[in-house]
């Protein structure tokens, strides 16, 4: 736990694992984990932008999900991201929706 803000350390959502053996515990490989967090936000934001939302870091332990109108929610991990995104935006975030796929395909070139 962070003594400054009382925030608990990382969590155990399956997607939090870095793709390398032995990096499932939260107290090792801090730099790699931070890089991974940044990358996770970058990728999530590429999708969330389609729904008028953005994800930012909060204390290195959680994320802030915000809409353009300022509605904000703290989320712990990717498992909480999408239910929160649908709730805040009032829209369905469907990765199989053609507009979502087509925008990504255009982005990827």
């Amino acid at each position: 736990m962070c003594s400054l803000c009382g925030v608990l350390g990382g969590n155990e959502h399956w997607a939090e694992a870095v793709a390398r053996p032995g990096v499932y515990t939260r107290n090792v490989d801090v730099i790699e984990r931070r890089r991974e967090r940044r990358n996770r936000m970058r990728i999530a934001n590429a999708i969330l932008a389609q729904f008028g939302m953005a994800l930012s870091d909060w204390q290195g332990s959680s994320f802030l999900l915000s809409t353009r109108t300022g509605k904000t929610e703290i989320i712990a991990d990717l498992g909480h991201l999408w239910p929160a995104a649908e709730r805040l935006s009032g829209r369905i975030c469907d990765p199989l929706a053609l507009p979502v796929i087509e925008r990504l395909e255009r982005r990827n070139g």
Binding site: E12, W14, A15, A17, V18, A19, R20, P21, Y24, E36, N39, R40, R42, I43, A44, A46, I47, L78, G79, L81, W82, P83, E86, I92, C93, D94, P95, L96, L98, V100, I101, L104, E105, R107, N108, G109
Partner: protein, 339 residues
């Protein structure tokens, strides 16, 4: 015998239609010395529980939950019963047990039982989902799968399928049943209960305990099948083969988004991934909204280095899944660096 007090005790779910031979199989498994350190939790729907008498082992590690079905009316009791077993084990009031087998009623949907382990704040730190074993009755299995949604879902969720009562029917009927079963669940190994040798540990061990076992399911790599049940469900199994390395972060964003929106229709997802920047593959495994921790395999099971993911879905278009994953994977680090 397994470690009597492991950090995460595997919980095996033994499921299957009413009368499909779950208790008979359980009795046989418990007779195996390799499973001597196994606690048992039996759920019966009837007012008077009988199954726990049939397994011929009555001690304090056998718990009966009756008068309701685990997946709905007494789901809370499941968590309490497992917590109680854990608590008594920790206090030395019970012999240690390295595995828990939950025998569900034939009516139970497997997913809520599995998700209880992840959702409960105590259980999630001490237990993990083990292999789901589903018994399929060779005589009545086909009609049960066609008529009962739960039977269909039990077959779809299985890590191992045990074909029972094969001595009571002919090979043509069995072949017809297997054809249907394979359309619903193309990758779970099928074991005949009538075989004289039954490797109890292999039947119950899950990939997390033995990473190499994730290589097992991939032997039906090319199967794409559609199965229409009599109750209108369009169960479809397909294998997604991805040539490019997969970006783990992009994959995590994609799969969490997919199961948030379609978790009730993704009956099962299982596969091995060739991750960008990694030499060895990673195995993934999920049942509806529940995804197990990924497992780092020590080596590839064969020469094929492509990612292969088996999906069993209800009414989802495989082409959309394929396109969507490819599009999300394009957001990965390597793609970003290329741009």
């Amino acid at each position: 015998m397994a470690d009597a007090n492991p950090a995460f005790t595997p919980v095996n779910l033994l499921t299957g239609s009413l009368g499909s031979g779950k208790t008979t199989l359980l009795r046989r498994l418990l007779a195996d010395p390799a499973l001597s350190g196994t606690a048992v939790l039996i759920n019966e729907f009837g007012e008077v529980g009988l199954d726990h008498h049939l397994i011929e082992r009555i001690d304090e590690t056998v718990v009966l939950l009756r008068s309701g079905c685990l997946c709905c009316t007494i789901r809370g009791e499941l968590a309490l019963a497992i917590r109680d077993l854990h608590s008594r084990r920790e206090r030395g009031k019970l012999p240690g047990f390295g595995r828990l087998v939950v025998e569900s009623t034939g009516l139970a949907d497997p997913f809520p039982i599995l998700s209880t382990l992840k959702a409960d704040p105590v259980l999630r730190h001490h237990f993990r989902a083990g292999a789901v074993v589903t018994t399929v009755d060779a005589v009545n299995g086909l009609s049960q799968i066609k008529v009962h949604t739960e039977s269909l879902r039990q077959v779809a969720a299985a890590d191992r399928l045990v074909l029972t009562k094969t001595d009571l029917t002919d090979e043509i009927t069995i072949a017809r049943l297997l054809d249907h079963v394979r359309q619903i669940n193309p990758d779970a190994p099928i074991i005949r209960a009538g075989d004289p040798v039954l490797d109890a540990v292999a039947l119950l061990d899950h990939g997390e305990a033995a990473p190499g076992s994730h290589a097992l399911p991939m032997h039906h790599r090319t199967c794409d099948a559609v199965y229409w049940s009599d109750h209108g469900e369009r169960i479809r199994s397909f294998v997604l083969t991805v040539e490019e390395p997969i970006d783990w972060t992009a994959f995590g964003v994609w799969l969490t988004m997919l199961i948030n929106r379609h978790g009730d229709k993704v009956l099962r997802v299982k596969g091995i991934l060739n991750l960008a920047g990694e030499a060895a593959p990673v195995a993934i495994h999920g049942v509806r909204y529940l995804v197990h921790n990924p497992v780092h395999m020590t080596a590839w099971p064969d020469e094929d280095r492509r990612s292969r993911i088996v999906f069993i879905v209800d009414g989802i278009d495989p082409d959309l899944v394929r396109r969507s994953l490819t599009a999300f994977n394009g957001l990965g680090v390597q793609s970003a660096e290329r741009v």
